[in-house]
Every structure is written in C-alpha cells, then in structure tokens.
C-alpha cells in the first residue's frame, strides 16, 4: 500500500483538474453501452436502432473501402470554402456595423429580416441560382455561417468599453489601426462564440445540401443509405457528423484559449 500510494496520488493529481473532462468522455460512452445492451436484449427495434457494435462494423467497412474518406473530405472541403466565403465577409461587415452608427442603422433591419428565414427554405432558390454543382453547397454553408458570426461580431464590438476607443483616439490610432488594435481584439471573445455557432450551423446545412443533387459528401452518403435501406450507414453518417461537432468544438475552444488569453474563465 505504501509503495502504491505515491503513484496513485500522482494519478489522482493528474485527474483532479480534469474531472469535467472525464465526465465529458464517460457520459456518451455510458449512453452507447446502454444502447448496445438494449439492442442485444431486443428491447428496441434493431431495424431502426441497430446495435452500436453493428454500426461500428459498418464504419470499419466504409473506412476500408475508402468511401467514408471520400465523402468526409468532400464535405470538409465544402465546409472550409463556405466558412471562408461566409465568415470573412461576416467578420468585416460585423466590425464595420459595430463601429459605424450609420452602417448599423442601414443594415440592422435587413439583417433582422433575413436572419430568421430558415436556411433550409432557401435551398431550392440557391439550387436554382447556383446549380447542382459545388457552388450551391458552398453557398449554403456560407449563408449559414454568415449570420451567427455577423450578429456576434456586431454584439462583440458594441460590448467594448468606450474607454478603449477613447484611449486609441488619444494615442493617435486612426482607421485601420482602431480596427486592428481595439475593435477586432475587443470583439474576439464573441467572434469566437459566433464561429462555434456558425460551424454547427454549417454542419447542419452541408448535410442537408448534400442530400439534394450531390454525388458525394456525408449528406449524400446518408441519403443514399436511405434509398438502399442501409440503416447502419445512416448511423455511421450521424456518428461522423457528431464526432466532427465534438472535434470542432474542442479545437475551437483550444484556439480560443490561445488567442483570447485575457478572457480566462478557468
């Protein structure tokens, strides 16, 4: 016992600060376990809810055949370009709206009116304008990412204490310098929130857009699985999207910690 205690106390120390992290990992695992048991025992209809182990087998098969990688990379590329084409204009416009009262007065009503339109409802219009190719998928993601980033960036700039703008003016900052040294870094915490929300919205919309007139992507994979009644493949698609959601959140939270070190909540 006395020999074991130093290493166990070291382990305890290691785990002590990570209690929340451990709980974060354990809770979905427990859910999967309950699901597996329920499926094996026949408590749930396995035609609709196949056991996680079967889904996992399908996942391995899809990885081996390279199909999953092909669909995943197609979706990721669309997400990436959509993120750039939606996110960067949203960021610039958001800061401009936050800084300029006139700009805000002109654009606020337009943003408020267009924001609540369900993005899924404009998919037919986007298909009509941009066709069935890559462009329509990218535009769909861009539109979805645009609003959360825009709205959070405006809020972020408006939240900046007026004294920081006084300081920058008094110390001779002009135009772009104010943007770079006050507006952008000051709004960054909320911009990061907007990016997180935007990526989530992007994942929703990319799967949706790929279900219509696409030949690749996770959305296509799931839609195709429905047509050939491969329930497991559908679940693999859901699983991969869920995993992407987790990975993006973790990565973005880590990035946030690196670039917003003054907003330490831990």
């Amino acid at each position: 016992m006395s020999v074991a205690s130093p290493s166990s106390s070291a382990l305890f120390k290691l785990l002590k600060g990570k209690r929340e992290l451990i709980l974060n990992i354990i809770s979905p695992l427990l859910m999967l376990l309950a699901w597996e048991i329920a499926a094996q025992m026949g408590w749930i209809d396995v035609r609709f809810f196949p056991a996680p182990s079967k889904i996992f087998n399908t996942l391995l098969k899809l990885i081996e055949s390279g199909a999953l990688w092909r669909h995943l990379s197609a979706s990721m590329q669309r997400l990436f370009w959509g993120f750039l084409f939606g996110g960067i204009p949203a960021l610039l416009l958001g800061i401009a709206m936050g800084l300029n009262r006139t700009f805000r007065a002109v654009l606020d009503p337009i943003v408020s009116a267009t924001y609540p339109i369900p993005k899924s409802a404009i998919l037919p219009l986007i298909l009509l304008i941009f066709g069935l190719g890559e462009a329509s998928k990218i535009v769909m993601v861009a539109v979805g990412i645009f609003y959360p980033i825009l709205i959070n960036t405006v809020a972020g700039v408006l939240e900046i204490n007026a004294i920081y703008f006084d300081v920058s003016r008094n110390f001779g900052a002009r135009g772009w310098q104010v943007f770079r040294t006050v507006a952008f870094p000051g709004a960054l915490p909320l911009i990061m929130t907007g990016i997180k929300l935007g990526v989530g919205m992007g994942l929703i919309l990319i799967s949706l857009a790929e279900m219509v007139g696409a030949k690749s992507g996770l959305g296509y994979m799931m839609w195709n699985a429905w047509e050939i009644l491969s329930v497991e493949t559908m679940y693999v698609g859901l699983l991969v999207i869920a995993a992407l959601g987790i990975v993006f959140t973790l990565v973005l939270t880590e990035i946030e910690r690196l670039i917003v070190p003054w907003k330490v909540t831990r």
Binding site: D166, V167, T181, G186, W262, K263
Partner: protein, 280 residues
C-alpha cells in the same frame, strides 16, 4: 462668489511661456431635461512646465474639461489655444485615464508601447523608451503579463508608463489614483513626481483630493459645480523636488490644505444642497 466670473490671469509668467490658454470656454450638453451647462465660461492660462491641478466637487466639469483638452470632446463656445511649436514631432497630449483603461488583450509592454506604435516609431526606439519607463515604474519583470494578472496599482503604473513613453507635449491625468488604496496612492504619487522631474512636462491633473492637489501641484484651480466655473487659483508654495511623506509631515502643509479646503467647502455644501433640491 463673484470672482468666479472674472477671468483669472496667470501670474509670474510671460506670454510666450503660456502653454494652454482658454478664454470663456463653455460646454453645454443637450439632455432630455434640457441643456446642462458642464463648464461655464472658463478662462485660464497655464504656463509651460506647470504641474497644474484642478480640484473640485464631482459634477464640476473637470473631466469634461480634460476631455476637451484631449480632443475627445469639443467645446460649445469659447477659445482654446494650445501653444505647440510647429516643428515639434511630439503628440499634443497623452491622457492617463481614470480607472481601468489598459487594453486587456495586450501585454504590459504592448500597452505601454501603444502610442509609439500608432505613430509608427522604429522598433529599436520603442524598445528603448518603453523599456526605460517600465523600469522606472518597476514593471520590467511584468512586461509580458496581461493586465488581468496585475494589481490595480500596477495597472495604473502601466497607464502612466504608456503616457510618458508617448512623450507628449502635455500630460493629462484624470484622477489616476482615485481607485487605489492609501499606500498605493502614496507610492504612485511619489513615483509620478520622480518621473515628472526627469522631463518637467506641462501636466494637467484632475483630482477630488485636496491632499493630492497640494502634494503634487504647482498651482491649483478650485472649481465650483453646477455649472463648472473657476472659483479660485492658488499657487502651491512648496519647493521641488518634493518627497510626499516629508512634505506631509510639515506643519505648513496642513495649514495650506486647510486653506484650500476653505475655498472648496462652501462649493461642496452648495453642490450637495443642489443635489438634494433636485432629488426631492
């Protein structure tokens, strides 16, 4: 009471030595309840190199006055002339703000270097000047820290280093020590005086503390409130360089503070009576 209306001329300084000249400067804010006169026809001359203190009750427009000087606000009427040589490369003024004004997203060094960077000074010059003032304010070890990692006193030191490093023609200080505890306040006053002795810049310093005004200043303007007017100007008779503690131990110091209080007391009483009248 009536003397408040008269322009108060600076004594003992030639016209060429006047750094800041205000004549009948007024500031009126439009509020929902109608116009509010923050500053009423203030006329003032401040000599070059003067450590000028403005003391008065809250609501006497002292912060507004400083913001006008800083160019963050403009006067409603009257004239403000700041005498800066045309050849000067220096910025007109730098302000030490009341309360937390450091950028939370910048390190101590970046905060102190802000003015120089905005003026695109060469990196070597920035490193040298900022390094000097961080050393003078005892912050060298904290150059890479962020403001939230510092105490209130240290944050205000950075703020002072930022203003001095910018090497302005005029330093504006808006109650920079009002949020600090007594010990820290005393330390920072002492440090401020030492740094100021190096350059002897013209300083315009606002405070509500008579002690602070007498300790730091060459000349004190006592202001009245609602509307903000010049009530009187008093020259501080104590020699420089000063040590804060030694100065405060002297009997003349207490007498002088009492003397200034005499100017201020009826103002504070009047302001309070006005507040109570408007509240009821």
């Amino acid at each position: 009471m009536n003397m408040a209306q008269q322009p108060i001329a600076a004594t003992g300084a030639g016209a060429d030595d006047i750094k800041i000249r205000m004549s009948e400067l007024s500031k009126v804010f439009e509020t929902r309840k109608g116009p509010f006169v923050a500053i009423d026809q203030l006329s003032l001359e401040i000599p070059q190199g003067c450590f000028f203190m403005i003391v008065g009750p809250s609501g006497c427009g002292k912060t507004t006055l400083l913001r006008i000087l800083a160019g963050l606000e403009s006067q409603s009427s009257g004239e403000l002339i700041i005498n800066q040589p045309k050849t000067s490369q220096r910025p007109g003024n730098s302000m030490v703000f009341q309360g937390d004004s450091l950028f939370p997203w910048m390190s101590v060094f970046d905060n102190a270097a802000y003015g120089l960077r905005m003026r695109r000074r060469p990196v070597a010059e920035i490193n040298e000047i900022v390094g000097h003032y961080l050393a003078r304010t005892g912050l060298r070890k904290f150059r890479d820290s962020y403001p939230h990692q510092l105490s209130g006193g240290m944050r205000q030191r950075v703020s002072i280093a930022r203003a001095f490093a910018n090497d302005p023609d005029i330093l504006l200080m808006d109650e920079p020590f009002s949020a600090l505890d007594e010990q820290n306040k005393l330390l920072l006053q002492e440090e401020l005086l030492k740094i100021w002795e190096e350059t002897r810049k013209t300083v315009m310093f606002i405070t509500h503390s008579v002690d602070e005004a007498v300790t730091l200043g060459d000349r004190i303007l006592v202001m009245s409130a609602h509307p903000g007017r010049a009530k009187s100007i008093v020259d501080v008779p104590f020699a420089r360089p000063r040590s804060v503690l030694e100065l405060r131990a002297r009997p003349e110091y207490g007498e002088f503070v009492y003397h200034i209080w005499g100017h201020l007391r009826d103002e504070v009483d009047r302001a309070r009576a006005l507040d109570e009248a408007s509240a009821s």
